[in-house]
Symmetry: C2
Subunit: 234 residues, 2 copies
């Protein structure tokens, strides 16, 4: 059969299902008709229904289990998707001019807390890079980063005066796993100085750990300037 312009598409099905959930016709926890029945109702194939339902499940509205069927999630486990842009893009999206400055770049023995955090051997060496990201002349982010030399030997030759460690890493090593955290920390004297804040001021802070096939690659702390907020819509 051919796909006429009156076909029910998987998009239509998604919308209809969502509408039924919102209207209360399909209550939370209730079991939905199976795919075959829905295919009949929407007069399309099961394949099309399957795609619609699969996507709704991916998006966190439904829960599906073989044999058990599909049910409406009671607490719509809606997930916020935060895009993690590169600082440069973030600044430029604000209409600002991105500027980068290296503060320091030293090879050193990994401090104890870092060994614990990344499961490093006691004497492993790391490259410790500190740098600033500006929006024009205004501090935007202060970055404090450690890169595991054993995992990325080329790092000893990298020129972090001309390129930020994040951009360098992205184009140099791939990664397979990331752990990303956000928290509120207080500005210690160096953070305060770099971000031009009073000491003790609240600072929105990100921490990022990156691995490549189980090998720790880098740990970064990112301190954002006053007033920063991370926002998403869905």
């Amino acid at each position: 059969m051919t796909q006429s312009n009156e076909t029910t598409s998987y998009r239509d099905i998604k919308e209809t299902v969502l509408a039924r959930i919102r209207s209360g016709e399909w209550q939370p926890d209730s079991l939905l008709p199976n795919e075959q029945d829905l295919a009949v109702e929407f007069s399309c194939t099961r394949t099309t229904v399957n795609r619609a339902m699969r996507e709704l499940a991916d998006e966190g509205f439904l829960e599906r289990r073989r044999k058990a069927g599909t049910r409406v999630l009671s607490a719509p486990q809606r997930q916020a998707r935060f895009t993690i842009p590169k600082v440069r893009d973030e600044v430029e999206a604000l209409g600002g001019i991105y500027r980068y400055a290296l503060v320091s770049s030293v090879a050193e023995r990994a401090p104890e807390w870092l060994c614990a955090r990344l499961a490093l051997k006691p004497d492993q060496r790391v490259m410790h890079v500190r740098c600033m990201h500006f929006n024009g002349n205004t501090p935007f982010q202060y970055e404090d980063r450690w890169i595991v030399i054993d995992s990325v030997p080329q790092v000893v030759n990298a020129d972090f005066a001309s390129i930020g460690p994040n951009e360098w890493l992205i184009q140099t090593v791939p990664f397979t796993n990331v752990e990303l955290s956000f928290l509120a920390s207080r500005a210690d004297d160096s953070v305060a100085a770099f971000l031009d804040l009073p000491i003790g001021e609240p600072v929105f802070t990100g921490e990022r750990i990156t691995w490549l096939e189980g090998e720790p690659v880098t740990f970064a702390k990112m301190y954002f300037a006053a007033g920063y907020r991370m926002t998403t819509q869905f």
Copy 2:
């Protein structure tokens, strides 16, 4: 033809493609073979290749355009997905015992800043609910929330002494749009008192605005206890 146990599945294709990207075989910005050719290479149908590539594009690794083909994204626009659990679930996931306490619940005229934030008419009335969420006896989150009465008339009869406003809203009104922000704020005297912190301490703070088909429903500020961090892995 039937699906033997030696079939290449869309998962295999995804893995292979990712591996090729990581190994550098397929450079950023380079154009990939078209679906038909890949189907031949993987000896499967185009349908299967399509699913693999579509998902990789959804996940932010590829960019696809009709006629133009599929290319590797240079800056893998990886998105972090934070699940936004209900406080109760979050506390229970920590192995704690969730306890809830109402602080106050008053109907009032929306303050000016809120009118601006939610695009309310000057004299619209809102229900102002303040409450605490505990992990055992330890403060976990202080919630300061406003609910637009015109959008949710039933709210005037809700008993927020026995159920938290968030749980009540979830089971009462659906929503279509959400804006969620996170920031670091400083504890003012009331936040400090509720969370048992010194005044001025950094507090990880969430703000959530919810709409139903364009109508503003609620604005919530969530102040998290000291040491809170929001984490995700991918």
